[in-house]
Symmetry: C2
Subunit: 238 residues, 2 copies
DNA sequence: GAGTGGTCTAGACCACTCA
DNA sequence: GAGTGGTCTAGACCACTCT
């Protein structure tokens, strides 16, 4: 950690989370923060932009930076987040069952678009998420093995993202996500405790690395009563 | 339009949309853009940050700014978007039926949190969205009448957002949104063509103005087969 | 009018990629 | 090593809010 604006951002997040300022209060002005942190105003502004993007403050011209209530819908899951991050945050009584880890049948052309090279193979990992003893989420992940050469049950048991980012040093750049409601497949009925629910919520994502290469395709199939998506959106300035 | 970086952003969006560069190609370097647009590099960087946030480019250190495929899931609906914006974009054969416009019963305390002042009243607008002749979405909106004193059937028939932003000059700051799946209410069954679907997808949002005041609460209730949410997420830099 | 955030500049140095 | 984006600075002027 040597980036000043990130240090300042993290420091301010800590202070906000410790309720140093209450909701509706104004942060010290940018000039004041600049002298407090012994830096330039532009650097402070970068830190404040991060706070704003992440829903901690709303900047109001002529007034200041106001602390806003980030938890109106109890927790924010904006952006890219994995099941284990989520489970940890919610302190769910949860368990992951690794159902299968295999290379995709080379005759199966459905995941061709994941390959950067014709010789690449595609991992297919199916995991079942159990919450409070009920099997409610089926995660089907597909990875290009060029980026993920080794994939063990142990890695899949934990957070694959953790492994990718901390062990392999790959950095996630961006993701495109789609949420729709569908009829359960035979596989859903077999692997999940659907209990008469006639729909599943399907989240499909494509995850790209820092260098804009497509890295992963995921299908996360949820029993509808165990699905919840929370989003924080900021209107693009005009 | 006098903000340089916004002009440059809009100009670059236009160029990207006209396929001046194809996917995977690099934009001219920041220094080159700076001399092309006769401005400083920081101003170019602001324009590029906007492109990046909106999913047009991925910046790669040491290489350049790469054009990415913004339309993998056909269209991005990140952020705050209204039904009429969406319908226009998709060219849906759609119709809006204004079912009711009324002040909320003062004895109904459920929307108390919308009021900034005890004397404020709360508008309640119910609209039904018909697509291809089927009633598939029920939008229930609640507004504080301090910001929206007048609400006619004509306004509700079009885009309320349009009216708010262009006629009243209010600016939306941010929104918090929740998506869950629920059982249909009697009202859903009465007003929508549910056709045996046993679930509805409910999107609840709280919309805040530029000055961080809570302005609107919305419940948008969708028949599950007519629901789709698309999101573009960027990993927060670390 | 004093103080706030918003925009813009010109320059510096660093970290990274690629030939 | 040349060229790219990433960070940081110090200063200027503008637009806005509040009293």
């Amino acid at each position: 950690m040597q980036k000043k604006y990130l240090n300042i951002y993290n420091d301010l997040v800590k202070k906000i989370q410790s309720n140093l300022w209450s909701i509706g209060e104004l942060l010290p002005s940018e000039n004041e923060l600049a002298s407090q942190y012994e830096t330039s105003r532009e650097t402070i502004r970068k830190a404040l932009d991060l706070l704003s993007q992440n829903g901690y403050i709303q900047k109001i011209q002529g007034k200041g930076s106001m602390i806003i209530d980030r938890n109106k819908f109890s927790f924010p899951v904006s952006g890219i987040e994995s099941f284990t991050e989520l489970a940890g945050k919610l302190e769910l009584n949860s368990r992951t069952i690794v159902h299968s880890i295999k290379y995709l049948d080379p005759n199966n052309k459905s995941m061709e678009f994941l390959k950067t090279d014709p010789h690449d193979r595609v991992w297919n990992v199916n995991r079942i998420r159990e919450i409070d003893g009920e099997k409610v989420i089926l995660d089907k992940d597909y990875f290009n093995d060029q980026y993920l050469p080794l994939l063990t049950e142990e890695i899949c048991q934990g957070s694959i993202y953790n492994y990718i980012e901390n062990e392999l040093g790959l950095v996630i750049g961006f993701a495109q996500k789609e949420i729709v409601v569908e009829n359960p497949t035979d596989e859903d009925r077999e692997l999940l405790d659907l209990e008469g629910f006639s729909n599943v919520v399907v989240i499909r994502s494509q995850v790209y690395l820092d260098d804009a290469n497509l890295f992963q395709f995921t299908e996360s199939r949820h029993r509808p009563d165990k699905f919840r998506f929370v989003d924080f959106a900021r209107r693009v300035k005009n």
